[in-house]
């Protein structure tokens, strides 16, 4: 109990730090686990290894439950393609490094697979925090993460059966196919029947979900596959809506508990690398964080995303995450990965997972996009024009409604967007309106109005400070009353979504109630007659 208590306390500390810094919890959990080991906390080794196995099983199961293709929308095939391309990219980066270090072939295979294993948790957490989950970049990043998870687990199961001489490859691969099929059967029929039709109570539903997990893990284990592969397919079997919603209601506490505990426990297993190892690993991390996004960017761009959205997507796909650590652990179990290599992968994972929220942030993607070459506009807009700041999804609607107006000028930092708009005959300037040069180009003082759809309130307030000096009226779409007050205080004209949505809802509700009342009067009248 003491070991468990220490790990839970360490996990709690990690969660607190992560919350305070608004960063993903995983790297901090690994770090606090490592601190436990470094200070010589009395951890029972049996408990640590069994606990790690259980935590990994639930973690992989949770990852499996997230595989709902509805999240991916139109990006399914593109996501699969990008996930496959990731393998090639990672192999190009990692194999020379591994060969330079003189690693054995199977070690290299596990290593590449581990480095491909991204972090769905980090991607999802960052996207949810920014509320980009439902945007095209979020859908694509989620889709690639899901496809990657699916590929990594399938390939892991296949290579384990091939690498282990005691396991029949044919039997294992047949079982793998069987697990896919079984997962589909359970998803299609068994799970909806049990979870929705049988009117099970909470305890029965929970045990059904966990029995599916252990059932699949057991089948995998009997066939010589890693039980974790079974756990993943079990999660996939329960991932379809509305079963997934019910399952999440029961297993969320398990994932909340075991996922953080998994990272903390991993931390307790790591060793400090030598100076040479550390230098090599840092170089590798830099290579991975620069080369992988650079090689992936052209492929992601072909999905029709803007440059900034593409940059955000490739950055979100760059960390080595939970699945990478699990591949390394399985590799360790089969003797192909050593503690030093696990520590190296963990270090890569910690660093990349910590950097990703920053590297994929709007500030960084905007800065990178600003350095992308484009043609400069060779005309100036007419006076009395309307300036639209930011051409996101909302900007698109405005351009559709006002596009015929020759006086519309769009200002956006994304070069692709600007080029596309110019091709459509819409006057667009690339840059940040807060720069005097761009403000002059856009003729801000002579504008009839400035419309901002930028989601970030700070960007909008900056714009207002500038335009107040220039004298142009600014309309800003904001979500909350608090933001509206800030905009109003700087002389802007806020259009508060909440107010409008709230009014629209109440109007609808009153209309539906009066409709019901009218129906009721009619019904009463009918019966009286």
């Amino acid at each position: 109990m003491l070991s468990l208590g220490l790990l839970v306390v360490a996990a709690g500390v990690a969660l607190g730090i992560a919350q305070r810094l608004a960063l993903p919890v995983a790297p901090f959990a690994v770090a606090t686990g490592f601190v436990l080991r470094a200070i010589g906390a009395p951890l029972d080794s049996d408990f640590v290894t069994d606990g790690l196995l259980l935590a990994a099983t639930f973690l992989v199961f949770t990852v499996g439950t997230e595989i709902d293709r509805r999240h991916v929308h139109r990006f399914r095939w593109r996501a699969t393609l990008i996930a496959l391309f990731q393998f090639v990219v990672v192999a190009i980066i990692a194999v020379p490094w591994a060969l330079y270090l003189g690693l054995r072939p199977w070690t290299i295979v596990f290593l590449v697979l581990a480095l491909v294993g991204g972090s769905t948790f980090v991607a999802v957490e960052v996207l949810r925090r920014r509320q980009h989950f439902f945007q095209a970049s979020g859908r694509l990043a989620t889709g690639v993460s899901i496809a990657q998870d699916l590929l990594v687990v399938t390939i892991l199961a296949a290579i384990v059966s091939t690498a282990d001489p005691e396991v029949s490859t044919a039997l294992s691969l047949t079982t793998l196919a069987l697990l896919w099929f079984l997962s589909w059967i359970v998803m299609k029929w068994a799970a909806p029947y049990m979870m929705l039709r049988m009117e099970l109570d909470d305890e029965e539903r929970l045990l059904f979900a966990i029995a599916v997990l252990f059932g699949f893990a057991g089948v995998a284990h009997i066939a010589g596959l890693p039980p974790l592969a079974g756990a993943f397919f079990a999660g996939a079997a329960l991932s379809r809506f509305p079963v997934s919603g019910l399952v999440r209601g029961h297993v969320t506490s398990f994932s909340d508990f075991f996922v953080v505990l998994f990272f903390t426990t991993i931390g307790t297993m790591l060793v400090i690398p030598s100076r040479v190892e550390l230098v090599t690993e840092v170089l590798f991390i830099v290579g991975l964080m620069v080369l992988r996004p650079a090689l992936l960017l052209p492929v992601v761009r072909r999905s029709g995303l803007t440059l900034r959205a593409s940059l955000e997507t490739v950055m979100l796909l760059s960390p080595v995450g939970e699945l990478g650590l699990i591949v390394a652990l399985v590799g360790m179990q089969y003797g192909h990965i050593g503690v030093a290599q696990l520590s190296a992968i963990a270090l890569v994972s910690v660093v990349t997972m910590t950097l990703v929220p920053w590297l994929s942030s709007p500030r960084v993607t905007r800065a990178v996009a600003a350095r992308y070459p484009t043609r400069a506009a060779d005309e100036s807009p007419h006076a009395g024009h309307i300036i639209l700041i930011g051409y996101g999804e909302s900007g698109e609607t405005i351009v559709e409604d006002l596009g015929s107006d020759d006086d519309l000028v769009v200002v956006d930092v994304d070069p692709v967007v600007v080029e596309q708009l110019n091709e459509r005959g819409i006057f667009a300037i690339r840059g940040d309106i807060s720069e005097p040069r761009i403000a002059t180009m856009a003729r801000v003082p002579e504008a009839r109005a400035i419309i901002s759809t930028a989601p970030n309130i700070d960007d909008n307030l900056g714009l207002l400070r500038l335009s107040r000096a220039e004298g142009a009226p600014v309309l800003v779409r904001v979500f909350s009353e608090h933001d509206a007050q800030a905009v109003g205080a700087l002389g802007g004209q806020p259009i508060t979504e909440v107010d409008v949505a709230h009014d629209a809802f109440l109007s609808w509700y009153r209309a539906s109630k009066s409709g019901q009342a009218a129906d009721a009067v009619q019904d009463d009248g009918g019966s009286q007659e």
Binding site: M1, L4, V8, V9, A11, L15, G16, Q19, D46, F47, T49, D50, L53, Q131, F134, M198, D201, E203, E204, L207, I210, A211, F214, G215, G218, H221, P227, F241, P242, G245, L246, G249, H250, T252, S253, F254, D256, F257, V260, V330, E393, S394, T397, L402, I451, P473, L475, R477, E481, Q493, I495, E497, V498, V500, A501, H502, A504, F505, W508, Y509
Partner: protein, 554 residues
């Protein structure tokens, strides 16, 4: 990475338990019985798992050690949750009747039981342990079955739960005593008294500590932690294990630490949400506990103890309810309430097993006593489950015989169930939109229930509010969603909105959901959402209207 045998054992335990639960659900057999049965099948009958080293063994290693730890975790979580529900409000509601009925029942049952067990030839210590085990009733069985009948809020349901809480306090005292008695094996009277005094001293220290923590230390950090659900869960578990470790270091049982940890959080407003979040974990680990218990039962020992065990089971099922019926009618309640309260508590408890486990671990009793408790437990839990399920018909039958007339109870005044709210509007997600909708509806005279995971966002809102995640159906049940006239969600979380729309469709309640992005609209419409709150679209329309209006913008 870990011993695969551990996962195999765990897998067998869970899969068989789930199969038995599903197969036997039409028979309304309580889950505890099925878990013990699963353990019996896997252990003594088929020999598929061997957990003989796990029971009550704090130093077991390998698979047995891991399973033993999970069982301990289950018990700790169970007691943590019991402590978590011990709010001052609850104590006030059922205070007098629960305390008097509870203490009266416990002391008389223990006294009579002690005499009966002695008459069967057991030793004094064994008789004391058995008699104590007979006094407790099962929180899990009662809460589960009365809840299934949706009668938890009835007067008899509240009295039953109140008596169970009093019994829980007695359990804590009993566990403390056992910890004190078992401290140094066979000891002199003086040493035993010292051990008991040490245990009580430690407990007093922890109670005072937990009260101070609850009042001055915990509220602020836990308010902050509530902003991130997984942090709230992990911090409360950290607190639980922290208390467990402190309890162990003071020579107390881990269960006491867990109970006091729960109690120190019970007064915080996150307690209710935390209880819901911990239910699944507790259900899982407690299932492991009971399967382990079944797997370790010595059937040969049980065979020798059948007769006394059945006599004790009859005692539990007849004497305990009679005692409760008499006490409760003397306290001014109707014969129906007294009868139903008494019959509901006619079984022994999971704590009886826990007490036996701790007693065996302390070397106070042997496997034969465990076998007796197992038989009494199985018999009383199975029979009383059916009694609870058919309680109304049973009462009508007994009332018809006129035998209850001898109680001379007052006329029924307490059998009506409190009327639940209906035709209210549930609003989920207290972002700016949600709060505006709550205020707007309340200003127009609607009865509104606001739900959010963050208690801070629920402050200063009119109407009722619930802290919780609607991903847990219990949160919606607590909001009486099946009687609501509408559900509104202002959330910007796709999965939760879809699930809410699904629940609303199942319950045939109209719902309005925030369609915060164009990509979520199709799914919402497919789920027959009555109105999609399209904030972006209406916001944009207003903006364009403003730009195009002839009115000058300056």
């Amino acid at each position: 990475m870990g011993d695969p045998e551990f996962l195999e054992t765990l897998g067998l335990m869970i899969v068989l338990s789930a199969v038995l639960l599903v197969v036997a659900r039409r028979l309304s057999v309580p889950s505890i019985v099925l878990f013990i049965l699963a353990g019996l099948i896997l252990g003594p009958i088929l020999g598929l798992i061997d957990l003989t080293a796990a029971f009550g063994a704090h130093h077991a290693t390998g698979v047995s050690g891991a399973i033993a730890l999970m069982s301990e975790l289950g018990i700790a979580l169970l007691l943590f949750l019991v402590g978590l529900e011990l709010s001052l409000e609850r104590v006030k509601d059922v205070g007098k009747v629960a305390v008097l009925a509870g203490i009266g029942q416990v002391s008389v049952t223990a006294g009579l039981g002690f005499g009966l067990v002695l008459a069967f030839g057991f030793s004094m210590v064994e008789a004391a342990m058995l008699a104590t085990a007979l006094t407790f009733s099962s929180t899990v069985v009662v809460v589960k079955l009365v809840g299934q009948k949706k009668e938890t809020d009835s007067v008899y349901g509240q009295i039953a739960v109140g008596v169970l809480l009093v019994q829980d306090v007695v359990v804590i005292i009993a566990l403390t005593l056992v910890a004190g008695l078992g401290g140094k094996g066979a000891a002199s009277g003086e040493e035993m008294a010292l051990d008991i005094a040490q245990a009580f001293g430690g407990m007093a220290l922890m109670v005072v500590g937990s009260l101070i923590a609850s009042r001055f230390i915990l509220p602020k950090p836990f308010d902050w932690a509530a902003r991130r659900p997984e942090m709230l869960l992990m911090w409360s578990l950290a607190l639980c294990f922290g208390y467990v470790v402190i309890a162990q270091s003071l020579g107390l049982s881990p269960e006491i630490g867990a109970f006091l940890a729960g109690m120190s959080l019970a007064q915080l407003h996150v307690a209710h949400d935390l209880t819901r979040r911990l239910q699944s974990l507790k259900n899982f680990f407690i299932a492991i506990f009971f399967v382990t218990l079944g797997a370790q039962m010595q059937l040969s020992e049980a065979g020798n103890q059948v007769l006394p065990a059945l006599a004790l089971a009859a005692f539990v099922m007849v004497i305990k309810p009679i005692l409760l019926i008499v006490i409760i009618t003397r306290l001014g309640y109707s014969q129906e309430t007294a009868f139903k309260s008494g019959l509901t508590l006619a079984q022994i408890s999971e704590f009886s097993f826990i007490l036996a486990a701790v007693g065996m671990s302390a070397g106070l009793i042997g496997e034969d006593i465990l076998a007796v408790i197992a038989i009494v437990g199985l018999t009383t839990i199975v029979i009383s489950s059916y009694l609870i399920i058919h309680l109304d018909r049973l009462y009508e039958f007994v009332d018809g015989t006129g035998v209850l007339g001898i109680l001379r109870a007052p006329a029924p005044w307490d059998t009506s169930v409190e009327e639940k709210p209906k035709d209210h509007i549930i609003v989920v997600g207290m972002n700016t939109l949600g709060r505006e909708i709550v205020r707007g509806l309340a200003a127009r005279g609607f009865d509104v229930v606001a739900i959010d995971t963050d208690p801070v966002k629920l402050r200063d809102l009119p109407g009722r509010s619930i802290v919780g995640n609607v991903g847990y159906i219990q949160v919606l049940e607590e909001a009486d969603f099946d009687r609501a006239q509408m559900i509104v969600s202002a959330l910007q979380i796709e999965d939760t909105n879809n699930l809410l729309a699904y629940y609303a469709r199942q319950a045939e309640i109209p719902c309005a959901i925030h369609g915060f992005d164009v990509t979520v609209m199709d799914d919402l419409r497919a789920l027959d959402v009555a109105y999609v709150i399209d904030s972006k679209d209406v916001g944009m329309a207003r903006l364009i209207e403003r730009v195009l209006s002839p009115e000058p913008l300056r």
